[in-house]
């Protein structure tokens, strides 16, 4: 591009026939250029780099995904019926292959002070609303995939809540991937911004029709003003052949509260970066996660919590169930700055291994530079306990069902943290379904 040296991601960023979104917006052009430079500079990270130590990008690069070009217009509500959760009452936004699709969405009535729209549409109608916000949380210097997302900026969900606005029903984003003529990459970019005292629930669901090969590289920038409250459920059930990359960048001002539940079930290769930064005191961040990894599946989590200011609390509670030849990585890092006294941070990662061939690399780290803090971290990698299994079997329950019940029991804590009954039920069912067919060796 621009006559410069090719990158391994040129196919991701190939020029669009109809030009880039927001063309002509100087600030956006500048951001895109800067992101592209960063992509070039970073090249393809190798496994020598800490953040990529356990995760090879080889297959992703070799695949050479093409940029999503055409809008999928043929889909009708009937086609996605099976993907909807009827009991879930939400303001529904459907995106198909990275593109906001109004015909499948059902926004309903939004209260005053709440704006829910597509990124593309907003860049056309009111770009100034995005000017400070786009890359406002992710920052100027970005990790590779966030930079790629910025360089290939296309569409996404934008949720803006004015000061004190309260949204009762959740906003549900369904990101649907459908197979195309060739393997494609979609790079949705979401911006969610809650002004002081605003409250909302956000549900993101990444799903697919069919089992096609594609890549999703999503970035979500979340900013919470003072006293704002965001509940956020994120369910990733991509196609078993898909690559899924996501970067969640969260910034929290004083007294704000974020509760995020991250469920990772699908995809062949899923990488999640969660980056949290506190900018005001007494903010709370609660990150929970559940992942399942079976044959030909990698679940890779990187969590960075930056306690830059005093008196904030963060919890990271991640649980994994691995079976077959499943692999997972949990790389959690909490940094407490020198002045961040009264920090309360707890990180835990527990893994249940159902087979000897499954593998997990778990590495929670605390970097504490203040002295008056309460910090802990713990990690376990274990198997199903025989005495629990025996207890169930002694009551007539078959070994496979008993195993499944114990796995569900292990997962329960996280599923329970989801913010709607309908979602809990749907996730429970999906987890159960996966465990039912999970190979135990």
């Amino acid at each position: 591009m621009n006559g410069a040296a090719p990158t391994s991601f040129d196919t991701w960023l190939a020029a669009r026939a109809d030009g880039e979104v927001g063309a002509g917006l100087d600030w956006l052009e500048a951001q895109r250029r800067s992101a592209l430079d960063q992509v070039r500079e970073q090249g393809v990270p190798g496994t020598k780099q800490e953040a990529w130590r356990y995760t090879s990008l080889k297959r992703l690069i070799e695949q050479g995904f093409a940029r999503v070009e055409d809008e999928v217009t043929a889909l009708q509500l009937d086609d996605i019926e099976e993907l909807l959760i009827p009991e879930l009452e939400s303001h529904r936004v459907v995106m198909v292959n990275g593109r906001y699709t109004p015909s499948l969405s059902a926004l309903g009535d939004l209260p005053r002070g709440v704006r829910v729209t597509g990124l593309r549409a907003l860049l056309a109608s009111d770009p100034d609303a995005l000017r400070e916000r786009l890359n406002g949380v992710a920052g100027e210097s970005q990790p590779l995939f966030a930079a790629l997302n910025t360089a290939g900026l296309d569409d996404g969900l934008v949720v803006l809540l004015d000061r004190g606005a309260i949204l009762e029903r959740p906003i549900e984003l369904i990101h649907l991937s459908v197979g195309m003529d060739e393997p494609r990459v979609a790079q949705p970019r979401h911006v969610v911004s809650l002004a002081d005292g605003a409250q909302a629930t956000l549900i993101e669901r990444y799903v697919s029709l069919g089992e096609s090969l594609y890549c999703t590289n999503s970035v979500l920038e979340l900013s919470l003003g003072r006293d704002a409250v965001l509940k956020h459920d994120r369910i990733q059930i991509e196609s078993p052949n898909a690559f899924h990359i996501t970067g969640l960048y969260l910034s929290q001002d004083a007294n704000s509260r974020y509760v995020g539940v991250n469920i990772g079930l699908g995809g062949a290769w899923a990488r999640t970066d969660l980056v949290t930064r506190f900018s005001g005191e007494h903010a709370e961040c609660d990150l929970q996660g559940l992942y399942l990894a079976g044959d030909r599946q990698l679940m890779d989590y990187h969590i960075d919590v930056d306690h830059a200011v005093p008196a904030c609390s963060s919890r990271e509670t991640f649980k994994g169930i691995l079976y077959g030849k499943g692999r997972a990585v949990f790389d959690g890092r909490v940094v407490v700055a020198k002045d961040a006294q009264k920090t309360d941070a707890a990180m835990s990662n527990k893994n249940l291994m159902l087979s000897e061939n499954a593998e997990v690399d778990t590495k929670p780290q605390l970097e504490i530079n203040a002295d008056d803090v309460k910090c802990s971290h713990g990690t376990t990698v274990g198997q199903i306990e025989p005495e629990k299994l025996f207890y169930l079997r002694s009551r007539g329950i078959s070994a496979p069902l008993a195993r499944r019940m114990l796995c569900m029991g292990f997962a329960e804590e996280i599923i329970d943290a989801l913010h709607s009954d309908a979602l809990r039920e749907a996730v429970s069912e999906e987890v159960g379904r996966r465990l039912e067919t999970a190979p135990l060796t």
């Binding site: 002694s394 007539g396 069902l401 114990l406 029991g409």
Partner: protein, 251 residues
């Protein structure tokens, strides 16, 4: 109904059961008493199929079937039930779901239809009453955070629900307060019938005041060294095990 002959079992290199014989007829209640570490729980576990024990000799026949050849769940399907000395906590596993899975697994294995949610709940409420258990326990995880007494009552509650043919109660009385002991004993007595046999492992004569046994056995060093009627329990209460062990040694 249950016939145990010359049963020997090892854990690792240690022989724990050293030639145990026991015959239990239909409808009979047998009490097993014996010093700590004599093998009572081991015997209960071997009967119900827990892993980790190697049976080196002898046989266990239950209603004509070789019990030792069966998986734990298959034994449960035949009607064997163990009330654990130390009930296991299952965090995250909902009690109601568990009970339903157990009951329906057993019904299915017996060719009966599964119970629907309504009949199941009705049944469960009825049994809860017998054990004076609060139905809030149903919403909780199996045994998780239950008090010692609640755990024991929960075992008998499960027994009441699953209606086994052979129930093995391993020290169900220990850790129960006086009232709870009464409740549990009443629960057990309510389940007494001419087809249902029970093996009641206990250290205390008091339980046997409530649940009157047909036979009392002394298990020591891995085998039954003395059997008698319920008066044997009284004698043990009074004199301890020393005298039997001495007589045994002399013989």
């Amino acid at each position: 109904m249950l016939s145990v002959k010359g049963l020997r079992a090892k854990v690792g290199e240690n022989e724990i059961l050293t030639g145990l014989d026991l015959e239990v007829g239909p409808g009979e209640i047998h009490a097993i008493m014996g010093p700590n570490g004599s093998g009572k729980s081991t015997f209960s576990h071997v009967l119900s199929g827990r892993e980790g024990y190697e049976v080196t000799a002898g046989s266990v026949t239950f209603e004509g079937q070789d019990l030792l050849a069966l998986e734990p769940e298959e034994r449960a399907h035949l009607g064997v039930f163990l009330a654990f000395q130390y009930p296991v906590e299952l965090p995250g596993v909902n009690n109601t779901y568990f009970l339903k899975a157990a009951l329906n697994s057993i019904r299915k294995a017996r060719g009966e239809s599964e119970l629907d949610a309504v009949s199941f709940l009705r049944l469960i409420k009825e049994k809860l009453k017998i054990l004076h258990l609060n139905d809030s326990l149903l919403k909780r995880a199996v045994n998780a955070g239950f008090s010692g007494g609640e755990k024991k009552r929960n075992e008998i509650f499960q027994m009441a629900l699953l209606e086994p043919k052979l129930a093995i109660l391993d020290e169900t009385d220990s850790g129960l307060d006086i009232d709870a002991l009464r409740v549990v004993a009443d629960g057990v007595n309510a389940l007494r019938n001419p087809e249902r046999s029970m093996i009641v492992v206990t250290h205390y004569q008091r339980l046997l005041d409530y649940i009157e046994p047909d036979r009392v056995h002394v298990l020591a060093k891995g085998r039954i060294i003395r059997s008698g009627g319920k008066e044997l329990a009284l004698e043990l209460e009074e004199k301890g095990y020393g005298w039997i062990l001495e007589q045994e040694q002399a013989a």
